[in-house]
Amino acid sequence: MATSASVAPHRERRAATLARREALTAYLFIAPYLLTAGIFTFGVLIYVFYTSFTNLTASFAVAQAKFVGFNNYIRAFQDSQFQIALGNVFWYFVVVTTIQTIGAIGLAVLLNAKLRGLQIYRTLLYAPSVASAVVLSLIFLWLYLRTGFINYVLGTNIAWLQDPRRILDAIYQPLGIKNVPDFLRGPSITWLAIMFLNIFSTIPTFMVMFLAALQDIPGHLYEAAALDGATGLRAFWSITLPLLRPVIALVVILGTIGTFLVFAQIAIMTQGGPLRTTLVPLYLIYQKTLGTGTQAEAGFGAAMAFILAFIIITITIIQRRYIESSTQQS
């Protein structure tokens, strides 16, 4: 498509019109998407950004909303509930992203082996990812009951979705350490239960990504390594993992975004309880914006949403930098 100076003038003009026509066609093709995205994604985004500087409540025309400057943002940082929600989601992000990435790699490696009935295993393992978060939540709601299946199998008697005990207390209490801030006391048992549900349902999706990447690793690398005496774990560390790095980056970033935006499980299973140990930013924003059970404050909700977005973007950038730079080193 590119025209160079050495081409004859009339050909250049023809090429230019051709290029223009092609561009026009291309724009025509993406026009429906651009239009809807422009209105319903970017347009709304700009409106929400504006909203975050007003005291708009969910139910009224903009005319009544007053401009309040950065008040909503200042209030968000001071709001104890938002702080709790950010703390909770941080633990969620750390635990879920780590375990689901490691688990997905492990499963993918297993499924990459030459096993009998491999297709069946792959299908079975992928199944949880196909179910919607709502369906899974409702199923786990029953499994997690005190009289439910999980207690039956484990022989425990824990009300999984009503247990606010924080796990790190198991370390602090024997040592006699008291008055630890809630955040440092780790996630609650209920929060862990929901983390497990989320890990269970997202591992397969990422497993498929890793599986595809694994199948892309040329076999001769392993053969060459084997000649040098590197097999098994050594080959995994030295060949598989470095070559998986781009996919790991993708999975970690998708996982990060996914964990920060957890909502459905909370809305269905715990509504933020017990003792706010499963309160997450998105659920708080939803509650505040639409005023379900609280005062409707769309402006405040919008401000929290933008803070959340900023946090996600920052973490994502750091992750990308880190994973990319370590790729270059190796």
């Binding site: 139910s59 003792l275 609280t294």
Partner: protein
């Protein structure tokens, strides 16, 4: 290289599918939130406490209103003689068998809605929440209305889920219905922002008075002396007792008058161990249950815009209810694996529950397997030297301030909350009439449970008003439940500490 292409293609497809799946999940969330534990919609009504009516499967709602011309005549004629006719006509068609006794009623609000000059040829859109049973009742009400006002056309627009959100969206998009159901939360959102039609002119024109309704029920819909909504009915909290369990424990439910009686009864009715244990009391750590105990103990909840529920008597009241949990004579419904206390009651896991009238249709529904359960209702027991108090819940009808036909819309609101319409709804048993005069309806002599419920209208207080009023109640209830009730009943904090913390949060919320 081919394989790399394959990889990219795969990732691309996944990248497309993942958000799609996520979107699907997100999309269905809003409707599914209402069913924690896969329970019936009543669970929401019970925990939220905002819904005054609950679905009934067995309620004899018929009401073809074939005899309506008589009723019409009744309204335009003098009430004293005419109302009984209307009643007879209505109860005759509902098939509840109460027709003959009903004719003796002298019920009636002081108004005559026909005096309102409605716009000729007005068409009204009327939004209501609720399930099929409730919608049928609304439609019957509309039919009665159009018999009285044949020149007004009313279309019922049911919004079975996410009602408040739909109305708020309608308000901001200027597409909201002319007349709609209004709860306390919507009142807080719409009332102070001049989105509701003041009904005072229509009230004056018809001669109806707001004092015909129980004071707390109508006060919440008034701002600066203007009335923006009229309560359509109410529900109240009482104690429901399983008769068989009471008999086994040789307890006469009627003898339970004080907190000590209640505690003793719960003790006696707690039997068994482990998963099959039957608890004397089902507990729900909600201020919209046990907040009434604070009032009974002579302690206000909020006074002069400041939280005072953490005073000694308030702490004692909450401690009393936490006592059931501490003694093992009561258990939280969630701990029993139930969606709400009604399920614990129907499943015979608890001998007593503190609920409102919404439990009646739930128990009558064969799907819940408790149609053979015999139960009694008693008013909430009070402390020694305390005063009777309970929570009331109500919904109202209101009109859109921007409606094209303000007179017709107001007439519909007034008609639906008139004695004639409310009386016709009494046999449905879903909720109690908001008009004081209807408390003496003969229906209540035959239905002792409903009688107890309706009697609470005299002493009950509206949770919406006491807990900070329509604007603040959301945050106040949220703070009280999450900072106090939950930690207390989970044993995470002492009652005093938790209430102190909640008081701080409530004070903050009230400042906003």
């Amino acid at each position: 290289m081919v394989s790399r292409k394959r990889l990219s293609a795969l990732i691309l497809v996944l990248a497309l599918i993942v958000p799609l799946l996520a979107a699907c999940g997100g999309g269905t969330t809003s409707t599914a939130t209402a069913v924690p534990g896969g329970t019936v919609p009543e669970a929401t009504a019970a925990t939220g406490g905002a819904v005054t009516t609950a679905p009934a499967a067995t309620a004899a709602t018929g009401g073809e209103a074939t005899a309506m011309p008589e009723a019409t005549a009744a309204i335009s004629g003098t009430e004293a003689t005419a109302m009984p006719e209307a009643t007879a006509a209505i109860s005759g068609t509902t098939g509840t068998g109460g027709g003959t006794e009903a004719s003796g009623a002298t019920a009636g609000a002081s108004g005559d809605v026909t005096k309102i000059k409605v716009e000729d040829g007005a068409t009204l859109r009327f939004a209501v929440a609720g399930n099929a049973t409730e919608q049928k009742l609304y439609q019957d009400g509309v039919d009665r209305f159009t018999k009285v006002f044949p020149n007004v056309k009313v279309t019922l627009e049911p919004i079975p889920t996410d009602y408040d959100t739909a109305i708020k969206a309608g308000i901001s998009g200027n597409t909201v219905q002319d007349v709609f159901l209004l709860d306390g939360e919507l009142m807080g959102a719409l009332g102070p922002n001049s989105q509701l039609l003041a009904l005072d002119d229509a009230l004056t024109a018809s001669g109806a008075k707001t004092t015909d309704y129980y004071d707390p029920l109508v006060q919440i819909y008034q701002i600066d002396g203007k009335t923006y909504g009229l309560p359509k009915d109410f529900n109240s909290l009482v104690v429901f007792i399983n008769n068989d369990m009471a008999q086994t424990a040789s307890i006469d439910p009627a003898s339970i008058k004080t907190w000590d009686d209640l505690k003793a009864a719960a003790q006696k009715m707690t039997t068994g161990e482990g998963p099959s244990k039957t608890f004397g009391m089902c507990l729900n750590p909600d201020i919209q249950r046990y907040g009434a105990a604070i009032l009974q103990n002579g302690n206000a909840i909020i006074q002069d815009n400041k939280a005072v529920f953490n005073d000694a008597k308030g702490v004692a009241a909450i401690d009393f209810w936490y006592g059931f949990k501490k003694d093992g004579t009561g258990e939280l419904y969630k701990e029993m694996g139930k969606g709400w206390c009604g399920e614990a009651f129907s499943g015979k896991n608890a001998a007593m529950v503190v609920e409102g009238g919404w439990i009646i249709p739930f128990l009558a529904d064969p799907a819940n397997g408790a149609t053979d359960l015999n139960y009694t209702a008693i008013p909430l027991p009070i402390p020694e030297g305390g005063k009777p108090a309970t929570w009331l819940f109500t919904n109202a009808f209101a009109a859109n301030a921007k409606t094209q036909y303000p007179n017709a819309a107001a007439a519909l609101v007034l008609f639906l909350t008139s004695a004639m319409n409310e009386k016709a709804l009494i046999p449905s048993g879903l909720a109690q009439p908001s008009l004081k005069s209807l408390a003496t309806d003969p229906y209540f002599t035959d239905n002792p449970v409903q009688k107890v419920l309706v009697e609470q209208g005299a002493t009950g207080q509206l949770a919406d008003s006491v807990l900070g009023g329509p604007i603040h109640k959301g945050d106040v209830i949220d703070a009280l439940n999450k900072d106090a009730m939950e930690p207390i009943f989970l044993g995470a904090k002492t009652t005093q500490d938790a209430l102190n913390e909640a008081a701080q949060a409530v004070d903050q919320a009230l400042q906003k």
